[in-house]
Amino acid sequence: MKESILALLVMAAVFAGLCFIAKLHISICLACAALAGCLVSGNGLGLRYLVEGSFSYLDTILVIATAMIFMKVIEAVGTLEAISTMILRRFYRRPALLLICLTILMMLPGMVTGSSTAAVLSVGSIVAPVMLMLGIDAVTTASLVAYGAILGMIAPPVNLPALMICSGVDVPFVSFELPLLLLVLPLAILVTLIMGLKKAKKLTKEQMEAHLGEKAGKKYSWRLFIPVIVLILLILLTRVFKLIPDMAMPLTFLISAASGCLSGKKLPLLDTLQDAVHSCLPVMGILMAVGMFIEVMTLTGVRGLIVVGGLSLPQTVMIIVAAVTMPLFGAISCFGSASVLGVPFSLALLSQTDITIAICGLSLMAAMGDFIPPAALAGRISAKTAGAEPYGKVVMRSLLPISISLIYAVLYVLFSKQIAGVLL
């Protein structure tokens, strides 16, 4: 165990030194920390482990790259501008209703794909400009966009953190729909109104037209919406109605992006592709490095040290401990948090709680890690989309929704038997 403690200290020191003193990119800091962990634990350079770990998120990386291509295509052909303008023209008099609708719209891709990153990448660019037009500042907009995407990931029917925990404890993923809806919908409405309503302006028609400028009276051809229609159709046909085999999100995004050629606008293909890949390169780098980091944590025993440390605390505070450690581990990867911490916590809580409701609560705790740096994929992309950088400001603004969500998740686990009595 001494070797594991040494590895933990060295990995943490290398990461902190490179990140805060040398100010290198987070992906490089994580990769170097992983390399240091290999060296100090007597595994040499551990190249095999570093490469194996970096492949953990290959599928996610492909989703991000192709989603970004899709976003750049609809931005280039004018679909984004058309959608945000039309939403504002229709709802400018009712900001509360508009904000709630935007949050639910933000949640939809995550509900179907199970990925908050895909949600921010696909709908974030539509929602963020509308929030900005309503007068909400960029930092709050980024926080709300990320929050909607993260709640979408937890909402039914697809909740990947819950599915991962279920796999680890052999609980079938059935009867989760209602508990998950009760978990996310009140939070979505409450947080959106608390954070957004004060800042959102109720516009007059003149103000709205002045805000939109020449776009106010502009008529948009239906052909502009072809890429979005194709995307929605493909998701409905593969995921909801299951009429055609699931072609996975990367191909879905690529086909939808290709349909942008039918929008009637000239598409600078090479520039758009280069721009898309360039934009998401840092995020893809972080994901690869996170994979390496977790692999070396497992190799050196640092992972076990953290898990056993969490379980060592008194059982009475275990749920609160889970609410603190799961988002913190989620700072590296929320899926990693669900798998590494969610499974042991679920097993430890098995006899004292209703496991279905408890898993719902634990999955929300893990998901909050998507806000926490260094990885913070959903948060970082939202910040970029809303133009709210540096990301630290978004984290500070998000402390309120994170805290509300974690308190609600703790209550959900604590009162799981009573909630199950009503819902299941």
Partner: protein, 384 residues
């Protein structure tokens, strides 16, 4: 002087140099690790069965598996007298060493005088060609034997992505429609009853189902391991039709000092051997679990020694805190104890088949070590 040094090192700022350096670094890492992964994928693990042993292949039951990593050897031991039939599967999950090794020991030592025994040590052969990312599993474990060191593969819980990729976000099990996390699509023990034209893993499952149907196998035992914090440990999980058999076998095991809990297969948890093979064939399907600390999330440093010795300080602490479902102390759970449980249980279940269903189902077999023999000795004593 400082300026001179900066001048000498100015090439470091050259974009072309930086790009070439990065490309060379990536290429070097790719070649070095690529060679290691390639060697692992093509490593031929030896199973030294007695001369004259009948060898079938899984592709005999689904020809489309021929020439793929899904094809695997099935060793058949036929007694001179007719009797019951038994299939023993190891390596459904290639990172569950005791399941695989117990089947290897069976294949190398078994003698059958009555009935027929099929042994398949690498049920998901593709799982033996990769490791699961973020698990940091060893690629190989070495077992000392009288004739030298035997090297066994320590693989992955899932089919190699080289054989089946990409994973869907949500895996929908066929035919139940049950939703599971995407990576479970490569888990053989979530893919039964399988499909002839389904995914790679579904085809492996389909072939195993065909093997059972075509040979009218009476009893199927799937040997597994699980982490010590998993509740269904040191237990058998069984299809409801195997209740009577398991009850009698568990009592017998208890009499000889092996506590084996019985869990009935949940009707709503689909894709597993004990559910689907019981539902889709006439076999009595049973899955057995022992404790492997090298799989658990609480484990400390991960390496081949842990996989064999089962000794881990983090698990010791977790045991003191009351989070484990097996007795655990500084002696760990060595491979001898884990294989001993499996092999003793297989022998008792095979024997019980005759007691419970009548003489025509009797299987007489010998040559295998019991629990005591393994615990007092070494697994290496039973490898050729």
């Amino acid at each position: 002087m400082k300026e001179k040094t900066s001048g000498r090192l100015s090439f470091l700022r050259n974009k072309l140099f930086q790009n070439l350096f990065c490309a060379l670094l990536i290429l070097t890492v790719a070649v070095l690790t690529g060679y290691e992964f390639y060697t692992f994928r093509h490593y031929r693990e030896e199973i030294r069965v007695p001369e004259g042993t009948e060898i079938q292949h899984l592709s005999d039951y689904l020809p489309s598996l021929k020439g793929t990593a899904g094809d695997t050897e099935i060793y058949v031991f036929r007694g001179e007298e007719k009797g019951g039939s038994l299939l023993v599967m190891g390596g459904t999950h290639a990172d569950e060493l005791a399941g695989h090794l117990s089947a290897v020991i069976m294949a190398e030592n078994l003698k059958v005088t009555r009935g027929t025994v099929f042994v398949m040590p690498r049920a998901n052969n593709s799982g033996f060609t990769n490791n699961f990312p973020q698990e940091a599993s060893p690629m190989y474990v070495e077992i000392p034997t009288a004739g030298g060191v035997r090297t066994l593969v320590y693989g992955s819980r899932a089919t190699n992505p080289v054989d089946q990729w990409p994973d869907p976000d949500l895996y929908t099990h066929f035919p139940s429609g049950q939703g599971l996390s995407g990576s479970e699509t490569r888990n053989l023990n979530r893919s039964y009853p399988g499909r002839e034209n389904g995914s790679f893993t579904e085809r492996v499952a389909f072939a195993i189902k065909n093997l059972i149907l075509e040979n009218g196998i009476d009893l199927t035992i799937d040997l597994h391991e699980a982490s010590p914090e998993y509740p269904n440990i040191n237990s058998s999980v069984l299809h409801e039709r195997a209740m009577k058999l398991s009850g009698d076998a568990s009592l017998e095991l208890n009499d000889i000092g092996i506590s084996m809990r019985m869990e009935v297969s949940p009707a709503t948890l689909h894709g597993l051997t004990h559910r689907e093979l019981g539902d889709y064939t006439n076999t009595l399907a049973v899955l057995m679990e022992t404790a492997n600390p090298c799989q658990g999330r609480i484990r400390g440093a991960t390496n081949a020694a842990l996989a064999v010795s089962g000794k881990d300080a983090c698990y010791e602490q977790a045991a003191k805190l009351g989070y484990l479902y097996v007795p655990y102390d500084e002696n760990g759970v060595p491979i001898e104890e884990r294989c001993g449980r499996h092999l003793q249980a297989v022998q008792v279940y095979a024997e019980a088949l005759g007691w419970v269903f009548g003489e025509e189902y009797t299987i007489d077999m010998s040559g295998l070590p019991g629990y005591d023999e393994l615990v007092k000795g070494s697994v290496g004593d039973w490898l050729r």
